[in-house]
């Protein structure tokens, strides 16, 4: 009898299960729809802007201001610092929870993503000035994703 290698045995296992217990025909399109929906802004809940500080002009010509948004029990504080064509956003989420933060510039397809620290802090740097939306996506899938309204940096 010939000795089958480990790889060829695992190949048999793969083939057998692909043949005998394949996923449903429409599983891929259904999963594509579910993922695309989660990735879209269709089910986002909007945060409410409750405070905006007056703009402060820094010594070197840059500007800075703070924004505060709320949604349910969650408070989002943002400090925006603009320096030339780029800006930096320091954020603080209260109460803190594991989340992905995505800054979505108006005209760019690519978002700037970061994670919230245990203390609820996050930083986004090198954001282009102009319109932007900040999305908060809780890692707890039971929680809805929410987002600020679009605002100008």
């Amino acid at each position: 009898m010939s000795e089958m290698s480990r790889e060829s045995l695992l190949e048999v296992v793969r083939r057998v299960y692909e043949e005998q217990d394949p996923p449903a025909e429409d599983l891929v399109p259904r999963m594509q729809a579910a993922a695309a929906f989660a990735d879209s802004d269709l089910d986002l809940e909007l945060m409410l802007l409750v405070e905006r500080s007056t703009e402060l002009v820094g010594a070197r010509g840059g500007t800075a201001y703070t924004l505060r948004f709320v949604h349910g029990e969650t408070d989002l504080l943002l400090r925006v610092a603009v320096e030339g064509e780029l800006s930096r956003v320091d954020g603080w989420i209260v109460p803190p929870e594991p989340m992905t933060v995505r800054a979505i510039p108006g005209e760019q397809p690519r978002s700037h993503d970061t994670l919230v620290s245990d203390g609820g802090r996050f930083v986004l740097t090198d954001l282009p000035v102009g319109q932007i939306q900040i999305r908060l996506e809780p890692h707890d899938l039971e929680r809805p994703a929410f987002a600020t309204p679009t605002f100008d940096l």
């Binding site: 005998q20 394949p22 599983l27 891929v28």
Partner: protein, 229 residues
């Protein structure tokens, strides 16, 4: 989903193996197979590479990248999750939860090359959680699998017809349950995390490697007994 279109593939693998003989193990079965179709039949290495490039395209802002990633990895996730004895609907829910987790937690995947492993690990964790929760109310999940499995009688009658595919199925199906689950996960994953597998299969972590070896040996013997080897 399986449309490699060539049941003869089993035959190709086996014939090649026989030609090579006992001492020269086959190292490149992939050359006998088309590489363009994506749902099933790919070698794991190809799947992981495609997953990484699709993930990168998605992060660059191309939504088709997410579509492609889902198309490449959903069949892999299905097989890994089904090794947890979940019925179809529960298994599909676990796969869907895995995709939602990816969308929500994308920023926690530091290395795009690891996205395939991240997905299978997330799916296994969720499958383990769900199967643990449901085992209290569903003592035996095997009956859910039953309609998809050939029964003993048909396996025998098909063996008489020298149907290679069904003989291979019968050989795999005849393995102890723990072997079937372990081999199914190992076959579809790239580098499964042994510590996690040990927890899932309720085995000491040091015994996963030896158990896998014994399971492969049992399968080798079972395949030999089909008379095809």
């Amino acid at each position: 989903m399986y449309h490699a279109g060539d049941p003869s593939l089993f035959g190709v693998v086996i014939m090649t193996e026989n030609r090579l003989g006992a001492d020269r193990r086959m190292t490149n079965t992939g050359t006998t197979r088309p590489t363009t179709h994506r749902d099933g039949g790919q070698r794991p290495g190809e799947v992981w590479g495609e997953a990484t490039s699709a993930f990168n395209r998605w992060l660059e802002g191309e939504s088709a990248g997410l579509d492609d990633l889902v198309a490449v990895m959903t069949p892999v996730l299905w097989h890994v999750v089904r090794a947890y004895r979940l019925p179809q609907e529960a298994a599909e829910d676990v796969v869907q939860t895995t995709w939602l987790a990816l969308v929500r937690r994308r920023a926690s995947i530091a290395d795009p090359a690891a996205v395939g492993g991240w997905l299978t690990t997330t799916a296994r964790r969720e499958a383990w959680r769900v199967s643990g929760a449901s085992s209290k109310t569903m003592p035996v999940a095997d009956e859910d699998l039953a309609p998809r499995l050939p029964d003993q009688k048909s396996a025998e009658s098909i063996a008489v017809e020298h149907d290679t595919k069904h003989r291979l199925w019968a050989a795999v199906e005849g393995l102890p349950e723990r072997c079937r689950r372990l081999l199914r996960v190992v076959a579809f994953e790239n580098r499964p995390d042994y510590a996690r597998l040990a927890t899932d299969l309720d085995m000491p972590v040091g015994s996963i490697g030896p158990t896998r070896g014994r399971c492969l040996a049992k399968l080798r013997v079972a395949l030999a007994q089909t008379g095809e080897f």
